[in-house]
Amino acid sequence: MALGAEAGSSESPGGLPFSEQVLSKTDRFHSFPSIIGDQVLRYGTETEVSSTYTVYSLPGYIGSYKGVFQVGVDTVRYSVPTITHWFFKKGG
């Protein structure tokens, strides 16, 4: 299921909204299902990039491509903490 179909629903990972930029990217590496994103937020490695931005990463696959699912959360740019990065980074 494309990310856009789930965005804004109660199934959004952690109940967090998506940024417009995240919603605008609908290709395969930018639109893995919310259930995967939920796993990333729950069990992924947490990297505090700055005091206001954290990336969660969990290894996995899309098809035969090995990589890392990444979910980035910004806590200040929007009125509520918001997912501003939603990407499968191939390799690694």
């Binding site: 990217k25 035969s64 491509y65």
Partner: protein, 173 residues
């Protein structure tokens, strides 16, 4: 005198060997076929398969010097010897979303990285240049310039790479 010629062909002429170029983990679909004519050897037909990545590129790059051919099928790069298609190099770029040629150097880009190849093989791989989007690629003198998005700020960071080595020379907002 080039070592070969390569051109898209449809339909393929009868009587030539057909070589399949699959995608990782599956067959994919055929994006196009090309006839490869190695110098002094029998021509053959290449069938280049793709996963049809949204927005990705399809093209063929050839060189006057060197044995390699690059056939990019809907974002899947197939990089092989014209005179021996069993010899193939995996390129790290997928999906191929950017293509920039400067003389014999062909620069390919996906969401985060660049790779450069020529008629002899892989020339360099860049470090990661973006969170998930690269834009504005161009060659200026002896460098490659572009910008990569930065998810932590929502902005863009300009980068400059050595055209010769792919090493990062600078990054700036």
């Amino acid at each position: 005198m080039p070592d070969y010629t390569a051109e898209e062909v449809w339909p393929a002429p009868d009587g030539l060997d057909v070589v399949e170029f699959d995608v990782p983990g599956g067959m994919g679909t055929v994006a196009f076929q090309a006839i490869i004519r190695p110098s002094g050897r029998k021509p053959w037909i290449g069938l280049f398969r793709t996963e049809d990545y949204e927005g990705a590129l399809t093209f063929v790059e050839t060189w006057e010097a060197g044995p390699m051919v690059l056939a990019c099928a809907g974002g899947n790069p197939h990089f092989f010897r014209a005179d021996d298609p069993d010899f193939r190099l995996d390129l790290p770029t997928f999906p191929v979303l950017h293509r920039l040629r400067h003389r014999d150097l062909v620069i390919l880009g996906d969401f985060t990285n660049l790779t450069a190849v020529d008629g002899y093989g892989l020339v360099w791989e860049s470090p990661s240049l973006a969170s998930d989007e690269i834009a504005g690629l161009e060659v200026r003198g002896d460098v490659v310039e572009g910008k990569g998005n930065e998810a932590s700020t929502g902005g863009w960071i300009r980068f400059v790479l050595s055209l010769e080595t792919g090493e990062l020379q600078s990054r700036s907002t």
